[in-house]
């Protein structure tokens, strides 16, 4: 297996790392529906970049410094404009581990104001566990790079005649989710607030997530949505429907079982199973989602 040199990814590697131009100047790389393995180098989430007149913004950087380098290569094969911003939609390793590859570009790293704290609490475990999953070669160079520009509510970034709006959300998928909106093409990057085909992962608040989905569905200014996992570009608001159905079902089943006096173990064995054929990686994530939902909803 060929090693990718971090500083100068080969043209072959850049071509192998495909990106799709989903709207003029808006590019998305679709990650694999897999958990971290040495073979996929952590390429298991969607990342993207937006090119303005003067600068580029990157949205999420993949699951290793190696994948971040491939994304950088894909950007450089299309533009030599400076990379002004690297925005992380939330804390999870598959979205932030590529940050280190961008440091030589001296961008401003951007994220939710709770992101530094969230990364600080998890950095040790994230690095240790994922180094083991990825193997030394794929993991090499991977470091945690937290944001320095923190979003409390919303900020506007200008790429030169192109405005991006980064909005901090209340606890949903995690307690540090942001969305990125490209005004020019009405493209909304939702990070892991939106999963398609890959089962959603609850690591924040299921109630918060459901409330946020209801609010987001009311947005009429979105022409297309980019999920954190799923097809590069999706119709709006139709893209939200399967995930909304899944979270509704998990919450409803768990609430019913709590009301019946059933236990956490009972719920993990049977809640939400009607969804099992609708999602990939269901076996890997669903029971833990039920555990998280139960621990939250039993306090209602």
């Amino acid at each position: 297996m060929a090693f990718v040199v971090l500083a100068a990814p080969s043209l072959r590697a850049a071509e192998a790392f495909s990106v799709k131009e989903v709207a003029p100047g808006v590019f998305v790389h679709q990650g694999r529906y897999e958990i971290f393995t040495p073979r996929n180098s952590g390429d298991t989430s969607n990342s993207g970049f937006i090119v303005g007149n003067d600068a580029v913004a990157v949205i999420d950087t993949g699951g290793s410094a190696r994948i971040g380098a491939e994304l950088l290569g894909a950007i450089r094969s299309r533009t030599s404009l400076p990379i002004k911003y690297v925005i992380n939609t939330h804390m999870h390793p598959d979205h932030v581990f590529g940050n280190a590859a961008f440091e030589p570009e001296h961008p401003t790293f951007v994220g939710h104001y709770k992101l530094p704290r969230a990364l600080a609490a998890r950095a040790g475990r994230y690095l240790a566990i994922n180094k083991e999953l990825l193997g030394d070669a794929a993991f090499a160079g991977t470091r945690i790079v937290p944001p320095m520009l923190l979003v409390k509510d919303r900020i506007e970034l200008d790429l030169g005649g192109r405005k991006l709006v980064v909005e901090a959300e209340p606890t949903a998928h995690t307690d540090n989710d942001v969305t990125v909106y490209d005004e020019t093409t009405k493209t909304l990057f939702l990070g892991d607030l939106l999963f398609a085909e890959h089962v959603p992962a609850v690591d924040g608040s299921i109630r918060g997530w459901l409330a946020l989905l209801a609010k987001l569905a009311d947005r009429h200014d979105v022409a297309r949505a980019v999920p954190g996992h799923g097809p590069a570009s999706m119709d709006w608001p139709a893209a939200l429907a399967p995930e909304h159905r899944y979270l509704d079902k998990v919450a409803a089943d768990v609430r019913a079982m709590i009301k019946q006096g059933r236990t956490l173990s009972d719920a993990m064995a049977s809640a939400g199973l009607s969804e099992k054929d609708a999602w990939l990686l269901f076996k890997e994530y669903h029971a833990r989602n039920v555990s998280a939902a139960f621990a939250e909803l039993e306090w209602e």
Partner: protein, 286 residues
């Protein structure tokens, strides 16, 4: 990896984990080889635990007195549900129940001392624990005749003690100390006497282990955990729990108790910072 304990989470554990043993546990965690280490020490901690916690007394295994339900592979190592059951014929003679997780840094997860209101029907106790490495989990009861009986299960889980607390840290802090007491109207098991009821006590508390790292400060969040939790029914003791860092965040206990004229449950919990939390439920005998 150097581990610095801010407040010693092991201080109140009967089993005192020596620095040497802790080092070996960490070695196992990091899969390093320690030259010259005794072969037995890290492979099977149980003999040392039995010596430290139970004075090397005989422990009778799988004799139908206690059963333990645990997942073979935990979905979340920081929230592993365990359920213990003791048949009615044995329950009335049970003084205490100790939960042991062999390979945890603090192997004694909790000890439950039963009182007169614990009930005489089938006894059930359920809680959630952190498991740090693939480990045997043991439920050990002591009967009035001084004998020890045990059920054990092997659970695959890792990292439970160092997992970060709270998916929503701000909300957890705002809710600290909130308690909920639920009673369940139906006694589930077939041989439960009508005088046995079931309840659940839960408290919002981070139960910090002292092993959860804050990378910004480069320090471990100090241990702060629920040390004792006492449940009384109409003034009579159901159980008193002495617990440690192996009990999950938001300690949660579901248990049977003996119904009396007044089934009001009173709960008092104390944590290692000296905070006291109390709650009372209304409860009528059915």
């Amino acid at each position: 990896m150097e581990v610095k304990m801010q407040a010693n989470p092991l201080a109140n554990q009967q089993s005192v984990l020596s620095p040497g043993r802790l080092a070996l546990a960490l070695v196992a965690l990091l899969a390093l080889a320690l030259p010259g280490a005794p072969v037995r020490a890290d492979d099977d901690p149980w003999p040392d635990i039995r010596r430290d916690v139970f004075d090397n007394r005989e422990v009778i295994e799988n004799d139908g007195t206690i059963s333990l339900d645990a997942p073979y592979r935990a979905e979340d190592a920081a929230v592993v549900p365990l359920t213990m059951r003791i048949p009615a014929s044995i329950a009335r003679d049970v003084k205490s129940l100790t939960l042991v997780i062999d390979k945890n840094p603090a192997p004694v997860a909790a000890t439950f001392h039963f009182g007169e209101a614990a009930g005489s029907g089938e006894r059930m106790l359920s809680t959630r624990v952190r498991i740090d490495m693939y480990s045997d989990v043991r439920a050990v009861i002591e009967t009035n005749d001084g004998k020890l009986h045990m059920a054990a299960k092997f659970v695959k889980a890792s990292g439970g003690c160092s997992a970060p607390a709270s998916k929503d840290a701000d909300e957890a802090l705002a809710s600290l100390g909130k308690m909920q007491i639920k009673t369940f109207d139906q006694a589930g098991a077939a041989d439960r006497s009508p005088q046995t009821r079931e309840a659940q006590v839960m408290i919002r508390h981070p139960n910090f282990t002292g092993m959860q790292m804050d990378q910004i400060s480069r320090e471990y969040t100090p241990a702060k955990f629920v040390q004792t939790l006492e449940v009384k029914r109409g003034g009579a003791l159901v159980f008193r729990m002495d617990g440690g860092i192996s009990i999950s965040e938001n300690p949660n206990f579901r248990f049977t108790f003996g119904s009396g004229g007044d089934d009001t449950l009173e709960v008092t919990a104390k944590d290692t910072d000296g905070s006291v939390f109390t709650a009372t439920s209304a409860g009528k005998a059915t």
